[in-house]
Amino acid sequence: MITLDALSARTGRTFDDHLDRSLTIPVLDGIQAQGDLLVMPAVLLGASDWRPVPPEGLVLLDGVHPHVLVADPGTCRWTDGPDGPAFAATAPVYLLHPEHGATGFAPGHYVTHRQREWRETDWSPVFD
């Protein structure tokens, strides 16, 4: 188990200073949402273009603030999923956000969905 403080030291990424840095980030294998980004376990059919998550992390969604996926080398690969990036982890991996803190994912396959809002006749993505 790892704290927000340790994640910040390990990745060099910063969080808003009012967040509790001693908070232990739970590593869960269910559906989790971080603000405007939902991450859910999935069986990915047909994806072949798997790339390693780079040492500096992978921006899963960029907006006003980025959601950055960080993983130890060799433990996580990613590909394009049905509605955003998808990833496969063989060890716990973390999703970091300056305002929302961190979200921990147990080993498994996950897809991401960006949150959306209704706009007259169609939907548009949420700004976060």
Partner: protein, 323 residues
């Protein structure tokens, strides 16, 4: 002929974005030379130039229809003469044209009462598109349009004089809803400040009157005829505050499966709105409530929350943590 790669397309898009967002003073001699060239192409002698620091009320009698008709026939000829594959055209549209065209850049805040379509000539997306594609011999004018845009200034042609608005001194933006998009936006003042100190207000790319930014209030919103402006003012106030001050009808409430707060679904004048509570504590120790507009037929708070993430309600009920 070499075909530019994805990176080239992205760097051309970024370069034109810098042009559109530039706050440098216009290069007046260069702008005047390019615009005089466009007068010549329209069979007109070079005009006098009248530079202004912020968009004025443009008098009637502008030759915008003439200049725009010629521009449209030029772009038609350019498109017809392009020797590139459809795949390449589509790539340029996707990586360059659409992100720029979907952006809400400062030129959109200028009002041309006499000819609202004239605004589109100051859009850089069409110039950036042709910048990515090979040169078409025998079509005159694109270089002049490009030089005028790079030199800066939004111009309106009259027979003897061309009115040119200098670039703004300050531009505030934020990322737009889609990849590569940028929108004018500022929460605490004018998003664009011109060189004479006057300003124009914008909320997430929508031009708004000053009260929307300076003093949004439920009674002003009730009196506002434009739905877009009502929505901008409500978003700036925050949906929860707006709902507290108006007689919105609560359709339903339910525990949020992802955290210990409640999901509340409301019916308002224009929208169905879901109010959710962030899992993360804010600076002041409270947890932020925020509202999301959901489809008009939403009847259940959990279904509405699931819809915002593009999943079904049974799946959303399995959410284990939402921050």
């Amino acid at each position: 002929m070499s075909v530019p790669t994805r990176r080239d397309a992205a760097s051309i898009r970024e370069e034109w974005l810098r042009v559109a967002l530039s706050t440098e003073p216009a290069d007046r001699p260069e702008a005047e030379a390019a615009i005089a060239g466009l007068y010549r192409l329209n069979g007109l002698p070079p005009p006098g130039f009248h530079w202004v620091s912020s968009p004025p009320e443009f008098p009637p009698g502008a030759l915008t229809r003439l200049f725009d008709a010629r521009r449209r026939s030029m772009t038609r000829d350019l498109r017809a003469g392009l020797a590139v594959t459809w795949k390449r055209r589509e790539q340029v549209l996707r990586l360059v044209r659409w992100p720029l065209a979907g952006s809400r850049l400062p030129f959109r805040l200028v009002v041309y009462d006499h000819d609202p379509e004239w605004r589109d000539v100051h859009d850089v997306s069409w110039l950036a598109e042709f910048d990515c594609l090979p040169w078409v011999p025998g079509v005159e004018g694109i270089d002049l349009w490009e030089r005028a845009a790079r030199a800066g200034g939004w111009w309106v042609p009259y027979r003897d004089v061309c009115v040119v608005v200098d670039r703004p001194r300050v531009v505030h933006t934020q990322p737009g809803p889609a990849d590569g998009q940028v929108v004018v936006h500022r929460e605490d003042g004018p998003a664009v400040v011109y060189r004479d100190g006057s300003g124009a207000y914008a909320w997430r790319g929508t031009a708004v009157p000053p009260w929307v930014i300076e003093r949004p209030a439920a009674d002003r919103i009730a009196a506002e005829p434009e739905p877009e402006i009502r929505l901008a003012a409500i978003q700036h106030m925050g949906w929860p505050e707006y709902l507290d001050q108006t007689a919105a009808r609560l359709i339903g409430a339910a525990p949020d499966p992802g955290n210990d707060a409640e999901l509340r679904l409301y019916d308002t004048r224009d929208h169905r709105v879901l109010v959710v509570v962030n899992g993360t504590v804010e600076r002041d120790g409270t947890r932020r409530r925020y509202g999301l507009v959901v489809p008009d037929d939403s009847a259940d708070p959990v279904e509405a929350a699931a819809w915002t993430y593009g999943i079904t309600a049974p799946l959303y009920k399995q959410l284990v943590r939402r921050t």
